[in-house]
């Protein structure tokens, strides 16, 4: 352990010494912008940085000159500042004020004004709308549909597509039991199971909200970042002009999983986007059919494990042991072992199904995040695995009925 740490420190020192070689790989500014907003932001940022750098260097130079020349050790005698004449005083006060006013409100202020107006113009000329919902600790994407302009432009309407996007880095790496793996295809902490897919060149109006606490949807290469506020709709927009995969993260502290809810967006050319929409819609139809069919216990448990590991294990742990007192154990828990339905077939308050559907305190309401099959599967899994053996099976059809 110590030896490893020493090696790391040695590496760090080496890095400092060989800085020029490493510099080439390190990013010194915003990543490459791919939306008009990010491009604008980069220009504004570069310009402002240049201005403040010039101010800094000029003032520092004057100060350093003074520090060298006006020191006691070189025999400089202090001069008494004489009060200037009123005219001179006014002149010398006005000049810096005017310079600063021009810098603040003209050189910086005017481009800043245009950026703000552009950034907040979410509605005009938009082609489609999506809704992004933040939850602890995942993003939910819902395609609301095309605008008239989008339809005129021949954009395929993705209306109705809806899915949840969760970190896909393996839990053992996230927990630190094994070191992070450098995989360019699925970068550590920056990859998800379901990516948001957007058509290249379309202006996408984004409506944003949250189911629990504040989150902030941010992709650095898009230049847009907006807080998701529970109970309110916030707006922003993106127009990705270059095909590719773009990654970002939540940037509003949202609890212990804050570092683990990345944003990944695939921007696809129109034809590929249309193919993706088609595929997704077929999947949805298949799922709807799946909710009505009768599932076997083994099928449910198999799918339930996948759902559990992805969504529940963060708090309740892979083993079901939980992290008491904040996150209770599921193994042997009263809720996970007591009956779900009363005699008439209605689900009981505080039953397993009630808790998963509606949540309580820190536990999210999963009805907004998982479909009927997933909820049925995960509940069946929790009752028949993780050290529990209740033996019953919850069918997707029952979940569907419970939602009504």
């Amino acid at each position: 352990m110590l030896k490893q740490a020493m090696k790391k420190i040695g590496f760090g020192l080496l890095l400092l010494l060989t800085a020029p070689q490493v510099l080439a790989e390190i990013r010194w500014n915003f990543p490459e912008p791919v939306t008009p907003m990010a491009l604008d932001t980069l220009h504004v940022h570069n310009k402002f940085m240049l201005i403040v750098a010039v101010i800094f260097v000029v003032v520092l130079a004057i100060m350093i000159y003074s520090l060298i020349k006006h020191r006691k050790s070189v025999g400089h005698q202090a001069v008494v500042d004489k009060a200037p004449s009123t005219a001179t005083e006014i002149f010398w006060t006005l000049i810096p004020f005017v310079i600063l006013l021009v810098i603040d409100f003209v050189i910086m202020g005017i481009p800043a004004y245009h950026s703000v107006v552009m950034m907040e113009d979410t509605k005009n000329e938009s082609d489609m709308m999506i809704k992004i919902t933040g939850s602890q600790w995942r993003w939910q994407y819902e395609y609301i549909g095309n605008t008239d302009k989008g339809n005129q432009n021949g954009l395929v309407d993705a209306k109705g597509i809806k899915f949840t996007s969760t970190l896909s880095t393996p839990q053992d790496q996230v927990n630190g039991t094994v070191p992070p793996v450098d995989d360019p295809k699925s970068p550590y902490l920056l990859d998800v199971d379901n990516r948001l897919v957007l058509p290249v060149g379309a202006k996408v109006r984004i409506l944003m909200t949250s189911t629990d606490v504040l989150h902030n949807w941010w992709v650095p290469q898009f230049g847009s970042s907006r807080v998701a506020v529970p109970g309110f709709i916030r707006e922003t927009w993106v127009q990705v002009d270059k095909a590719g995969t773009y990654r970002g993260q939540c940037k509003e502290l949202c609890g212990k999983g804050h570092g683990y809810m990345p944003v990944v967006v695939d921007a696809l050319p129109k034809a590929e986007y249309a193919a993706w929409v088609d595929l997704k819609q077929k999947e949805i139809n298949a799922q709807a059919a799946g909710a009505d069919k009768e599932w076997s216990k083994d099928e449910l448990i198999a799918q339930g494990k996948a759902v559990y590991d992805k969504n529940c294990a963060v708090c309740h742990q892979v083993s079901g042991a939980g992290l008491p007192p904040a996150f209770p154990a599921l193994t042997g828990s009263k809720i996970a072992t007591s009956p779900i339905f009363d005699a008439s077939g209605k689900y009981l308050p505080d039953s397993h199904l009630d808790r998963v559907l509606n949540g309580i305190r820190v536990m999210p309401a999963w009805k907004a995040l998982l479909n009927d099959t997933e909820i049925a599967a995960v509940i069946t899994y929790e009752r028949n695995a993780l050290g529990n053996s209740v033996g019953d099976v919850l069918q997707p059809a029952q979940v569907k009925a419970a939602r009504q």
Partner: protein, 530 residues
């Protein structure tokens, strides 16, 4: 003659000794000493917390600290550094130096002064107790929402949030009491002939600070109380389901929070010109301009709060207003910078430790101020906001602009307070280590932020590894260098070369007319200002 009179009075000083002296004291110097000691201790506590964070962030992957504990450390670090290290340090100087600088025998309200200090230790305990309770299985640790308490996360949180709310209440009461005391003292107890426009700059800085505290602390107290009732008594101030709004909390919090930045900085802006004139051997330039600028900054600080959450969503006119008003603060601040540099210009400078810290302070605080100007831009702020760029920015203003300023003040006044000269070589070593490692810690964080690393994350993507490693190593050097500071202070208190009354060749002002250390009761004969 006056010295012997004072010494004569001192022999008759009748006060308890030992622990009772400190518990019951109403003497401004004793209380000032307690404030400063408390501040130093809490500075080390808050610092060690962040070294834990930097150790975790040394390399990617979770090694030392679990995410929920990580979130507790960052929030408590900030609360301790702001409320228990920086603010008490400034109040400590106020207690020690304001009466000496205006020729008053003590503060106007000595018992209130004692009470104001003794509220601090309980609040520090309230802040940190949940860590200990969690070890015994009670609750789930301290406040894990960051120091800003944003709901709904803070409504979800555990008992740590309640503890922090009560800690903030106590700290707030303490600050308001201290402010009342300072305002009353400055308005009523100045030596005859000292008009307001002849007051030392430090007194001006603190006067405006005191007004800002009285104006804004009640807003914070109200906001956290609303949070408390939302948590426990079913109100819905910040819950949309009951007609409330989570963002309203941000407005209330930052209505306090932005002036708070100036509350931390104005006292420093007060004594920095005094240090400059001492070591430039030349009266400070533009006294009136500085006073007016301090007032302007104080007034503007309460009308720019929403620039802390541009990304939370606001109408365009509000965005533009808060952007332009924030930029406007650069005008009075530029006047201050101009006056500071003009004070040095064509002086006869020497670079003892207080002057080194002051010069370093001007440069580094300049970086903090200029990056703040850039942050005001709403569009670019979408990128900077809550990224490491902001972390670097506010450490340039609060560590360099706040704590390094306080250190300059400590070295400047320590000989006056203790009667001994500190070790100059160690002081200079402390300065250079602090300045260099500070920059190595935070310059990489500017680039991390630009590259897209959000703040408050316990683990990060591999592309951020190099800069984080440099930052962590430098942070440990920065932290360990402060031990030199502590050692230097302790050894100066214990002994050392005797300091003269004037201490510094170029020092001017009433505090330098008294012997070092000043007698327990000073100015028993009122000085007259001509």
């Amino acid at each position: 003659m006056s010295t012997t009179t004072v010494a004569h009075h001192d022999e008759h000083t009748d006060h308890p000794t030992g622990i009772m002296r400190w518990l019951t004291t109403t003497n401004h110097k004793d209380i000032g000493t307690m404030y400063l000691t408390f501040s130093l201790i809490m500075f080390l506590v808050g610092g060690s917390m962040i070294l834990g964070i930097r150790a975790e962030l040394f390399q990617p992957g979770l090694q030392l600290i679990k995410p929920d504990f990580f979130n507790q450390l960052i929030g408590v670090h900030a609360l301790i550094m702001i409320f228990a290290a920086l603010m008490p340090a400034a109040t400590g100087f106020a207690n020690w130096m304001l009466p000496l600088q205006i020729g008053a025998p003590d503060m106007a309200l000595p018992r209130l002064n004692n009470w104001g200090f003794w509220l601090l230790p309980p609040s520090a305990i309230l802040l940190t107790l949940p860590f200990t309770l969690a070890l015994f299985g009670i609750g789930d640790g301290a406040l894990a929402t960051g120091w800003t308490f944003y709901p709904p996360l803070s409504i979800q949180g555990g008992i740590g949030v309640d503890f922090a709310i009560f800690a903030v209440h106590l700290l707030g009461i303490s600050s308001v009491l201290g402010s009342i005391n300072i305002i009353v003292t400055l308005f009523n107890m100045r030596a005859p002939g000292m008009t307001l426009m002849k007051m030392p700059m430090f007194a001006w800085g603190w006067l405006i600070t005191a007004f800002l505290l009285i104006a804004t602390i009640p807003v914070l107290a109200g906001a956290v109380t609303m949070l408390l009732t939302d948590r426990h008594f079913g109100t819905h101030f910040f819950d949309a389901a009951g007609g409330g709004d989570p963002i309203m909390f941000q407005h209330l919090f930052w209505f306090f929070g932005h002036p708070e930045v100036y509350i931390l900085l104005l006292p420093v802006w007060g004594f920095i010109p005094q240090i400059l004139q001492t070591f430039s051997r030349k009266p400070m330039y533009g006294y009136k301009a500085q006073v007016y600028s301090l007032w302007a900054i104080g007034a503007m600080s309460v009308v720019v709060w929403a620039h802390h959450f541009f990304t939370a969503g606001m109408p365009v006119p509000a965005l533009l207003y808060f952007m332009y008003s924030t930029m406007a603060i650069s005008l009075p601040l530029a006047v201050l910078f101009f006056c500071w540099i003009k004070t040095m210009w064509r002086g006869s400078m020497s670079f003892e430790t207080p002057m080194l810290f002051t010069v370093g302070w001007i440069i580094l605080f300049g970086i903090g101020g200029l990056t703040g100007l850039v942050l005001a831009d709403v569009a670019a702020d979408a990128q900077y906001h809550n990224s490491y760029f902001v972390v670097a920015h506010f450490h340039y203003t609060l560590f360099a602009g706040g704590i390094m300023g306080i250190m300059a003040g400590v070295y400047y006044w320590l000989p006056k307070m203790t009667g001994h000269m500190y070790n100059e070589k160690l002081g200079q070593l402390h300065f250079w280590l602090t300045a260099i490692s500070f920059n190595l810690t935070f310059i990489p964080q500017f680039f991390l932020g630009l590259a897209g690393m959000p703040r408050r994350i316990p683990d990060y993507a591999l592309q951020f590894a190099e800069f984080n490693m440099i930052s962590s190593m430098a942070a440990f050097v920065l932290g360990l260098s402060q031990l030199i500071f502590v050692y230097n202070i302790i050894s100066t208190v214990k002994g050392g070369k005797k300091a003269t009354s004037q201490v510094w060749e170029g020092a001017e002002g009433l505090e330098w007319t008294l012997p070092s250390p000043p007698p327990y009761h000073s100015f028993t004969e009122q000085p007259i200002i001509k």
